[in-house]
């Protein structure tokens, strides 16, 4: 079966909005969601983050979950995005019972555990909450309000988790195992990984500036994104209208270092190359790249090198949207895939906010407004610790007519 898998539904939540409508407004108005944290309890309140401006109580109210029930924030964010994705796809409970749910997360329910860890060790506290700790607990809590999927699993490849969930979902459809797969990822802020990134000294105390000469680290973010993939024949039979198509993808391993990228961006290069190959496209077909662009000195240099290896002197418009949302880690691949769908449908290139000055060897990102642009094919990159590098190739509905 050739690629060109219809994306018939999408949902997103991040620091710049709950839902595709608010997200689009923020992207068009270049409104960043990064600022001081309000809900995360941490000694590092001075570190700016892209926190979703909703408390757990407000998220529960939106989802109709009783206030006394304890649910990981990752799942509370996931529920919002999943609700929108299933709604736009028009899936019934019957459809869901035959579909697969592939979710990416790394943090899982550690926000619940980090408040109670010492209690658990001394045999105190509600023991049932321990079962919310692992990644699976979060995935199940995310899908629970919507019914039972036929198959669920969780991918945990750090910051490329959601992108790899979409790739696995597409492969399940291509192999004929499922007609509908809901795939993406969710991740909330936690003290655990804020401190992890802080101990690696890759967090900026200012707002991040992807691809800028003065970039000095990332800001953590949170959120969730899901897409509904459907086999072409099933989508047609159901009368589902595609929002876009997934026409290629690549998963490669940098195999260089546990937390650093290779200088020439080997993994990133291989992932983008495979995405182009599977789509049967050439670099000149690409109209926009949503870069991983975390704003760490290492990532942006390595990714620029990889982009040059793919595109040479004919660099398409490239931007990182981390300046809007912060780095939403495991969820970034699917959140940014939804951004790409919005960009293709609305015909605009997201401006790389925070950027002023190029660095030697660095790409010059999109820095001016552009509307009415015809965007046919985009690459959306997501790279994770351990060199888990993935790239999605998304195409507008017009390219498939």
């Amino acid at each position: 079966m050739p690629l060109g898998i219809p994306i018939v539904g999408a949902g997103v939540i991040s620091a710049i909005g709950n839902g595709m409508h608010r997200t689009l407004e923020s992207l068009l108005e270049k409104r960043s969601g990064i600022g001081p944290v309000r809900y995360l309890t941490t000694e590092h309140g001075d570190l700016p983050c892209g926190e979703v401006p909703l408390s757990n109580a407000e998220l529960k109210e939106l989802a109709g979950i009783p206030q006394d029930r304890i649910v990981p924030r990752t799942a509370l964010l996931g529920i919002q995005a999943l609700h929108e994705a299933l709604g736009t796809a028009g899936l019934s409970r019957e459809d869901i019972s035959k579909a697969a749910f592939i979710s990416g997360t790394t943090v899982g329910g550690i926000d619940i555990t980090e408040d109670r860890f010492l209690d658990y060790l001394s045999g105190k506290g509600d023991p049932s909450l321990i079962l919310l700790h692992d990644c699976r607990g979060t995935t199940d809590a995310t899908s629970a309000p919507f019914g039972d999927f036929a198959f669920s699993t969780t991918i945990s490849t750090a910051c490329s988790s959601a992108a790899n969930a979409i790739i696995y979902g597409a492969d399940l459809i291509r192999a004929g195992l499922f007609d509908i797969v809901v795939a993406g990822g969710a991740e909330s802020l936690s003290r655990y990984h804020l401190n992890g990134f802080n101990s690696l000294m890759i967090l900026d105390r200012e707002k991040c500036r992807p691809f800028d000469e003065t970039r000095n680290g990332l800001n953590l973010g949170e959120g969730a994104g899901y897409v509904v993939l459907e086999s072409p024949s099933h989508a047609e039979k159901r009368g589902a209208k595609p929002l876009a198509f997934l026409s290629g993808y690549g998963n490669a391993c940098d195999a260089f270092h546990q937390t650093a990228s290779s200088p020439e961006g080997d993994g990133a290069f291989l992932a983008m190359k495979e995405a182009l190959q599977t789509a049967g496209l050439t670099p000149s077909d690409i109209d926009y790249v949503n870069a991983h662009g975390t704003s760490t000195p290492n990532n942006d240099a390595s990714e620029s090198a990889a982009l040059r290896r793919i595109f040479g002197d004919n660099m398409p418009p490239v931007s990182s949207t981390k300046g809007y949302t912060g780095h939403t880690t495991s969820a970034s691949g699917s959140i940014e895939a939804v951004f790409c769908i919005l960009a293709m449908r609305e015909g605009f290139l997201p401006v790389n906010i925070g950027w002023k000055t190029p660095f030697e060897g660095g790409i010059v990102p999109v820095h001016e407004d552009s509307r009415g642009v015809r965007i046919g094919h985009v690459l959306c990159n997501a790279f994770g610790f351990g060199g888990n590098d993935s790239s999605l190739l998304l195409s507008s509905v017009n390219t498939m007519k």
Partner: protein, 303 residues
Amino acid sequence: MPERIFIKSACQISCQSPLAEEWIDSPVALSGNYLRSQDPKFSDFIPPMHSRRMGLLLKRAVVTSEVALRKAGITVPDAIITGTALGCMENTEKFLGKICREGENMLSPTDFMQSTHNTISSLIAIRLHANGYNCTYSHGESSFGSALLDAAVQMRLGKIRNALVGCHDETTEETFRILTHAGYFSEGEAPATELSVSMVLSTDPDGALCELRSVSVENSHSRTADDVYREALAKAGLADFRGDVKILSDEGFSPIFGKNLSLPAAEVYAGAQMVGNGRCSVAVIVGGSCGRSRTVVVLSEKC
């Protein structure tokens, strides 16, 4: 499509003798309620310079992976696909314990780096210089089933010719205490254990232990074990098979490998070894059935 898939090699580190199949004829009888694994001499496999900064689970994963690859005659696999329900808990607990006890300053990154679930798959890739497909599944007792299904899908789509597939979970003292508090481990049941299992899948039958006829992971619990078993054989094209079929279940294998979220991986490993040694012609594994999803795998002799 569909390409035939074979299990070339499979090995384990568990409460039984490591990297060996002695458990088939003379299993170590399990006693007590908590058993750590019998580790091999790691320095026989990993230079101390390299293993110095690896946690116990990483060492086990590296050893089972590299032994499985050597037995399969493969240096660099096309794909590395790993399951781990909880990841490197030793490191997670250290980092979390420090935050909870000492606050959010003066933390060193090593434990954090090793606590992300994908650290196992990526460390193996770094050691082997393997730039191919690399993925990690963390989904309770179906972590391994998800990884195995992914490998089978990649092969059936013709994307890869071989894959290193593993599943690794450790039970530290703290994990044991917490999961006992949560009711996952309990007295009178099989003891809490640890498991590290690696196997090599290939489209090449030469020297293989067995053929992987089908793999599925499902959430539904409404069907009876008998239905699951019959459907699995039908799916594997063995509905009319009248030979020697063994059913491998959690009930049968927890007395040998204990209770652990990676148990389905041990069951598939055991099935592959039993078919490979001629103990049965077909093995049907129904793993993780006491949890929220089950992994159903059918293995047969190569034919």
